[in-house]
Symmetry: C2
Subunit: 159 residues, 2 copies
């Protein structure tokens, strides 16, 4: 089943109205790996220019609060969003020097998470797990200016 259909069913089951705007926003959002709020605004408006910025932000906040999308802090620029609902568990490893981002999968972590959540009587909805460090290239470089802003690029790698 299409991911956006799963999301829409999920929202509907929670009594959230499925307006045309929300359907469009969800369908555009699931097409991305990561996206910023403004990128989504721009994207949605290429299809329907009448959709208001506020609507995108409100919908994004709704999806975030309900655990459908995760908010990622990649340390540079505005926060990135990701639709994690109905998607395989994965985490991020990032180099703080050059900005490289690696996505990895670790079923063992997922399993431990379930135990932790059960231990505290919680029902798990979503999670974020990010490792920050220095990649092989950057770890042996003595930075002249540690405050220099690195370039960002995403690389999807499966463990």
């Amino acid at each position: 089943m299409k991911r956006f259909v799963e999301v829409e069913q999920f929202l509907k089951a929670r009594g959230i109205r499925l307006t045309g705007e929300r359907q469009l926003i969800v369908r555009r959002a699931v097409s991305y790996l990561h996206f910023t709020a403004e990128e989504l605004v721009k994207d949605v408006r290429t299809i329907d220019p009448t959709v208001a910025r506020g609507t995108v932000y409100r919908t994004l906040g709704l999806l975030h609060r309900t655990g459908v999308v995760e908010k990622h802090d990649f340390r540079y620029g505005p926060p990135n969003y990701e639709v994690t609902f109905a998607k395989a568990h994965h985490d991020h490893l990032m180099c703080i020097q050059c900005g490289e981002i690696i996505e990895f999968q670790e079923p063992r972590v997922e399993h431990i998470q379930e135990q932790v959540v059960k231990r505290y009587g919680y029902q798990l909805l979503s999670h974020t797990h990010k490792l920050y460090g220095l990649c092989q290239k950057c770890r042996h470089v003595n930075p002249k200016r540690a405050s220099k802003a690195p370039m960002l690029h995403v690389e999807e790698i499966v463990a």
Copy 2:
């Protein structure tokens, strides 16, 4: 050894100048569990009112990029910061309904993280690991307004 001294040595080793302002900011920051940027500005200024807001933000950004400080998205209000450098590994479990935050320790996750980092040739500096869900009290409460106060029954949807 005092934590702020360890942080200061770390910064020095990275060629970052240790100004009086930065020392003050670091020493105040390590005294908190979590803090917002504005809380730190206010705190620092009770000791030295001449420290500029921009300096606190710039220093916080520097500490964040170098992995000394973690930025936490607790989903409501501005981001929280935490000095995680030279501090025992711990993660967060949060209820998206009532905002309760539980800090838990999982040595197994820490161990797996080390394996992942080694696998990709990285040097680990810091990490964030957050689980979002519903606590025991909130998971059985049916909110008046689903869009404002999320209440999920995932198993019903997935089934």
